[in-house]
């Protein structure tokens, strides 16, 4: 895992300075992640998704007892793959995080989260995870999309 972190830092540094085509060459030159590395990285992601799931169902974000899940069970109608897009109620092009904050402030009557907070990252991770596999459609205001189909029972199968 330590190797991974160093690699990620190096990758980020290189990305900032170099063109995408050069980055691709580097990526090709580098060995693929091992199964064990992939498993660890996925566990990290799922821990964040789980935290997001808990927050999504927690009344502590608001003041009137409501939760995100009141209107968005399994993240439904959060449409994360359509952001950024013009949001009627925000009055400008909004990111998913801005929209989450709008929901916290208006329907939940709560206090907005700092956009770079762990809580915000977790909420965003949960919403996006429930729309895994959807093609990106920034700006799409044409319809509401259901989340991935989930079987009854524990987890997010």
């Amino acid at each position: 895992m330590r190797f991974l972190k160093a690699g990620a830092l190096l990758g980020a540094g290189v990305l900032t300075g170099l063109s995408i085509s050069l980055f691709m060459n580097i990526a090709e030159a580098r060995k693929p992640f091992s199964q064990e590395d992939l498993k660890l990285m996925n566990e990290e992601l799922m821990a964040l998704v789980k935290k997001g799931d808990e927050l999504w169902h927690s009344p502590k974000l608001g003041k009137n007892g409501l939760t995100c899940a009141n209107c968005h069970p399994d993240g439904a109608n959060s449409n994360p793959h359509t952001f950024p897009k013009f949001q009627d109620n925000v009055g400008k092009v909004a990111t998913l995080r801005e929209m989450i904050n709008w929901c916290i402030k208006k329907p939940l009557e709560g206090k907005e989260l700092p956009e770079d907070s762990e809580e915000m990252k977790a909420l965003e991770a949960y919403a996006i995870y429930m729309y895994r596999g959807y093609p990106l459609k920034p700006g799409d205001n044409t319809r509401e999309y259901p989340p991935v189909k989930v079987k009854s029972g524990p987890g997010y199968p």
Binding site: H57, G65, D74, A76, N89, P146, K149
Partner: protein, 339 residues
């Protein structure tokens, strides 16, 4: 004796599924059959209307947004002309089954009674799992019932009974309630009416003739819509089988907080709006995609919610009209969804 009954139900449930598949494959045939049944009805009914309201999800705190929408709905019901013969409350009066929430709900409903409008009520899961329905039953009586009104047989059932998920997990009553209060409850399993109510239903309809108009009323749909959100009733196939002897049955449900419609065999199914908030459509194809609600403005507490009145004509053709306070119903169904 009980086991053999269960076996019988399993067999007949399969027969029911086959019948439904057949009618789904040839929808036109189903329509023709219903039309014939209508025209052959000998005893004409005296037309009437009744209101369906529910999923108010009241919280304990005062002056809550869900108090406002429920209150506005009651105001509107009292102003309806023609006046409804009665009101059917379709479950989830409270949010967490608390005594204060249920008492608050009863105060709202009692406004109807004071104005001379009787109401009937069934429970939803939010009313039930804090104290296993004790407060609800003390306040409202039996959670399943039937009555006859102007020639129509009305049935109400408690469809939200799940198997014990709390004892083995050592959950407190509050934890049990909070778990099932989530639509995507990861531990609760599928719910239904259970064997006792199935036996009761069978007896209840035994002496009724097939041309009796029947309206059945459950919190959850009597068809498999989306089990993940308990948009289903586990023993719905058995219920449909028991009711299959009737020419036509109108089945009305809550829980989905949305406009949704389906037909199975001799039954027409329709979902009611909540007064609290709308649920989005689940990731399955709607059987009748035209019958759905429009996009909701989440900034308006009066959008996406409402109640319905159901008009029954002399040949038992019903119309369900959704009462809303925003642009929610497609033009085609503004005057009502035919039942």
């Amino acid at each position: 004796m009980r086991i053999s009954r269960r076996k019988l139900f399993k067999v007949s449930a399969k027969a029911g599924v086959a019948a439904i598949t057949a009618s789904a494959l040839s929808p036109l045939m189903g329509v023709v059959n219903v039309a014939e049944a209508r025209s052959s009805r000998r005893n004409k009914l005296q037309p009437f209307n009744f209101v369906v309201i529910g999923d108010t999800h009241l919280y304990e705190m005062s002056n809550h947004r869900f108090d406002k929408t429920f209150s506005r709905a009651i105001d509107d019901i009292l102003k309806l002309r023609p006046r409804p013969d009665f009101v059917l409350f379709i479950g989830d009066l409270a949010q967490f089954g608390k005594v204060k929430e249920l008492e608050k709900g009863k105060r709202f409903l009692d406004r109807l009674e004071r104005a001379g409008i009787k109401y009937f009520i069934i429970p939803g899961e939010h009313d039930w799992y804090l104290d296993m329905g004790r407060t609800w039953k003390r306040m409202f009586g039996k959670p399943f019932w039937s009555f006859d009104h102007k020639g129509v047989h009305f049935i109400g059932m408690n469809s939200i009974l799940v198997e014990d998920y709390w004892t083995a997990r050592n959950m407190s009553p509050e934890e049990r309630m909070l778990a099932i209060a989530e639509l995507e409850c990861h531990v609760c399993g599928l719910w239904g009416v259970g064997e006792r109510q199935l036996e009761w239903l069978e007896k209840d309809v035994k002496k009724l003739s097939p041309d009796t108009p029947v309206v059945v009323f459950t919190h959850s749909p009597l068809w498999e819509y989306y089990p993940r959100w308990n948009f289903q009733t586990k023993d719905a196939p058995q219920i449909r089988e028991i009711l299959s002897k009737f020419e036509k049955v109108i089945a009305i449900h809550g829980h989905v907080h949305q406009v949704v419609y389906n037909r199975t065999g001799n039954m027409v199914h329709i979902g009611n709006l909540a007064t609290a908030w709308p649920w989005p459509y689940p990731p399955v194809e709607l059987p009748y995609p035209k019958v759905r609600m429009l996009r909701v403005d989440p900034g308006d507490i009066y959008d996406g919610v409402g109640f319905a009145s159901t008009y029954i004509d002399e040949t038992f053709i019903g119309t369900m009209k959704y009462h809303t306070w925003a642009e929610l119903i497609p033009d085609e169904f503004k005057d009502g969804v035919p039942l």
